[in-house]
Symmetry: C3
Subunit: 463 residues, 3 copies
């Protein structure tokens, strides 16, 4: 039995007992998933998943990166030209290396999914690989394991996807047109039409113009095109935008300078800092639009994408070679904050991969600016230790109410219940420790727990 | 009863028992407060405090910033033009939002002050707000709640204020002239005559010249004026200077370059880096003067002040919008250290808001340079978790004896006993954990505890 | 009795019991010491150590720096012109200040060495100083305390030294020629012929040319000379090179630019960034050679050496004034990684003094690049708290198998068993905590323990 009912709880017996009691009140709370990367097509089409390997292994960079680190070829994970096509072979490769995940969150997530979602009692290993494969494959053929059924059995009450500005949101429309009760929201992620360093940027702006009828050859037309797409996304249910910039830099240029900057970029005459400056300016423009249309602005900065050029060229993006860099927010956010930071309607959610910013900058920032909320521990820090460091670093300065609650940020559908389970256990444990060290009262801990398990996320994302 | 006698102690029973025993030996030790921001006028005039709101809420940026973060208007906290003037209304606003402080040090401090200083049994809430207000207001009218009486009932043995170089120290003189037994020391904080970026810098230098009879139009006269003011402060009891620079950068320019730099700044012909360079040079000049006059040099770097221009303009400084930035000391302190770092009489106390410097730089620096001492966890880190991180990061490389002991650094008078209480509890717990993990012996822990509770502070500040 | 059998174990009783049981299975495992600074002459000559002070105190910068920080003169520690020459007097000075080490790893190491290696029952203090001195001195005269005997009684199975590129490795040869069974391996540390900022760099390159018969006046000849020395080191048993650069920067210049850079440096016409760029380029060249010859590449970056110029001039290097600086690896390692990072034969071990890089950069890097391994907590972080932060920060993203295992990195011979003892205790405790919080199973913990105690180090260093 891989899952122990007391997993992730404190070892001290009294604290563990309290953590268990707190957790019991939130264990079954509906899952609110306001930021993530599930494929909208799953929800729209509701087709069965084809096989265990393509559901669990091949697309999950948390899993493939660990195998890469120990010399497993991408091809053996089903990635790239000439890759293995037999899902069972891929699954066996994964199972052979599953011991590598000891002590990692992926281990908790996969254990949880196999046990709780697929009813598999034994831990994955070379010995159990085939039986596990068969069990998962058998279930995937059943209607209860189609995406919408999983949404329901997972107890999800709302889930957001992440969608390019040029996306037609057809699958979101399909969800709506089908009259299915699930709530699947798009999120406006316009990186491809904001980041001049992205390939096809100019082409993307042309398409943006066509889609919106705006003249994206001009600064004002370009901004209007964003407004138009944001309105469309909002109409389709979006409550937020999201921005994956290399840095958190923002800018608030005088109108003429912003226009000249846009013109240089559009004319392919950009100087060396212009792309960065343009992204910086656009964060402030997005914030201004948020003040008008109410979309919550999310900033996910500080990942150096595709560090290995050879891997990106041969196997594409999202193969585990995205590596964090140091970031600092105090100076970077200043222009945006001075432009619109006191607007009562604005909400900006900040994420970080640089944990040094938690106590040094983000908690002080969120602990005073009314527009700012701290996103949950992100990516590599979406983990037992990562969550503990986050709460210990953030709470004393920002409290609980300046946090945006948990979100799972995942493209691995079956890990969603596991990720919320981990977060709820760690938060229950943190609250229990506050109580047994007499920093909060027991009744407060029980009152705060449901906020952390969903209430704050609802409030932050206007769900 | 908001205060539990075992608060902040470890949960493990044996360790808790030991922490309790260690704490019992230092709980009642005199409070040494060698760095802080109480108003000298309180001590000199000894007038009653007017009301609970202006004592607790309005001037305390720890409290107001949290309310600001949740959208409470400054005016409702009694700040700014047209602000609420009824202290009871301000107090009610505070009480309505008091739940926000769950898990923060402010909560521990306010709970402690209301309970231990004002004898209020119930936690502050909208329900208890009026009763608490009445109880505090009633006490404030009594002679036992005037500043000097509080000094005595708090068990303070010495308290330092922080005073501008142009201050006439009239209230310190009044304390002395009155023959009161309390020890209230000024601290020489010359930022306004050292930082060319401060408003009125040139005017301040003119005033400094008038006060001292030195020609502050020349570099040597300017330095002489500092010497003169330092001598005056020392005569009035000061044992330390303090410097709140944006960065910890120091410089040790050749004499001619330093003079030319001063001349450029005095002539309003400064280049872009000149203000920073001048501050850097002046830290080394201050250190040189410290070698002569024995004042301990404190450096508080790395806060970006008044990040919101609109808030600063409308509501002034110290409104919670001071946000830390990354700092590094190794390179920054090198000029100063190579100039005077081996002088046996020099003491330099370093504070940081960037906790990454604890283990990486400050413990290694203080663990070798005889002049350097580490200040206690500062500002946002003056907290349970902050103190634990500090001890865990610093002790293994710097030991206990290279630390400057605790100081409360507060302008909130009634939080002084609370802050020392928290520090003593956390230190007792840390020592107890060292013992139960067999890293120090029990008798050593009992010997070190009084050092952390006051001995090191006395030694560091020559009190 | 200074050593408690449960030292460094968790306080929770069930977790402590488990940690004890795990530790029992690895306590006696052979010591693998693949990186360190013991003197090869000790192993080659096998002469008795002269006295307690020169064995324990004078050369150990961990110890002398703490005394320096509290004002003890170098001379009183036997360092510098006119220094104390009576080892007993030096020992007494050390003993008088031994209380300073409470809570530090040095205290654990010295306690362990005196107790376990020299059988001294009481803790060092002014009272016990002379008796301890006599006991150590008496033992040092016995054959059981000569270096090779200590190697054997410590249970060392292999130990690497760190040797300059120009070293003739005579003592390693002597070990081999004597037919002694101990395994003493050199490590290729070519800083003096790679770092243009080192004194005598040009002279060193001339010597390198003479030693190898290569024309070190040309870029290709210079590279050939490295190849030649690496081959010699490898023949003498080396399995690794080591590089102590100021930063982790790497470069991969086009051949013509690299040659031009070398020519500028060789002609003493280097520009301001050239030394740094040359070091950066050479890391990549070393990695390329590693692909060919199989030597494992170690990078130890980020120490600002000899911060006090006066101390360096008067007392030499390694006097405790080496202070860490902030580093970042993501961008710095990119050129090297893109050049050779996917080569299956390459192994690169990264160390850091900047703990912020653990979770932010190093675990993500080692968790995907097949060539990268994380070195153990280094220098100031080779400690109880340092190791705990390391495991907590690194494991969730990199797992255990992307770590290079422990190495003691010491020049203090008698601290070797102590350092491995600390590491094994902390790792046993960490594993026990993983089990009691149900993150790994008990049998996994017992399987991982011997890897951490030696298996990973063997694998990483190809021993």
């Amino acid at each position: 039995m891989p899952l122990h009912p007391d997993r992730l709880f404190p070892v001290d017996q009294a604290t563990r007992e309290l953590a268990r009691n707190i957790f019991a009140t939130i264990e079954g709370a509906p899952i609110i998933s306001p930021h993530g990367h599930t494929d909208p097509r799953w929800w729209g089409e509701n087709a069965p998943f084809s096989d265990p390997a393509s559901l669990f292994v091949t697309p999950d960079h948390y899993l493939t990166r660990m195998l890469t680190s120990q010399g497993v070829a991408f091809e053996d994970m089903g990635i790239g030209r000439g890759a293995e096509t037999d899902p069972r072979a891929i699954w066996r490769t994964f199972a052979e290396h599953y011991y590598l995940f000891a002590g990692t969150p992926s281990r908790l997530w996969v254990d949880h999914a196999l046990s709780e979602v697929f009813g598999i009692a034994e831990r994955l290993s070379p010995r159990t690989a085939d039986a596990a494969y068969d069990a998962v494959a058998e279930k995937l053929a059943q209607p209860e394991y189609r995406p919408r059924a999983l949404y329901e059995s997972f107890g999800i009450s709302a889930i957001a996807t992440t969608d390019g500005a040029l996306d037609d949101l057809r699958w979101h429309r399909k969800v709506r047109d089908d009259g299915w009760s699930g709530r699947v929201l798009p999120t406006y992620r316009p990186d491809a039409v904001i980041d001049p360093d992205q390939s096809d940027f100019a082409l993307n702006l042309d398409k943006l113009g066509e889609m919106t009828g705006c003249d994206t050859g001009t600064w004002q037309g370009y901004l209007d095109a964003h407004r138009s797409r944001r309105a469309f996304f909002k109409e389709m249910g979006a409550t937020a935008s999201d921005h994956g910039h290399p840095t958190p830099r923002t800018a608030d240029l005088p109108a003429a300078e912003a226009q000249a900057l846009f013109d240089r970029i559009r004319a392919a005459k950009a100087g060396p800092d212009d792309a960065e400056l343009f992204r910086a300016q656009m964060l402030t423009e997005m914030a201004r639009m948020s003040v008008s249309d109410g979309l919550v602005l999310q900033i996910h900065p500080g990942s150096f994408r595709s560090q290995s050029v050879a891997v990106r060229n041969a196997y594409g993006a999202d193969r585990g070679f995205d590596i964090p860099v140091p970031v600092s927010f105090t100076e970077a956010l200043r222009p945006l904050l001075n432009a619109v930071g006191l607007e009562p309607e604005l909400k900006v959610i900040i994420y970080t991969l640089d944990e040094t910013t938690y106590a040094r900058e983000l908690a002080p920032l969120a602990g005073v600016w009314p527009c700012l909320l701290l996103g949950p521990p992100w990516w590599f820090h979406d983990s037992y230790e990562g969550m503990r460091r986050y709460r210990a670093s953030v709470t004393e300065t920002a409290g609980f109410w300046n946090c945006a609650g948990f979100n799972d940020d995942t493209r691995a559908l079956c890990s969603i219940p596991a990720r919320h389970d981990v977060a709820r256990r760690v938060d229950s444990s943190f609250l229990a420790e506050l109580v047994t060290s007499h920093r909060v009262d027991e009744e407060e801990a029980f009152a705060i727990a449901p906020l952390l398990a969903g209430g704050l996320a609802s409030r932050a994302f206007r769900l």
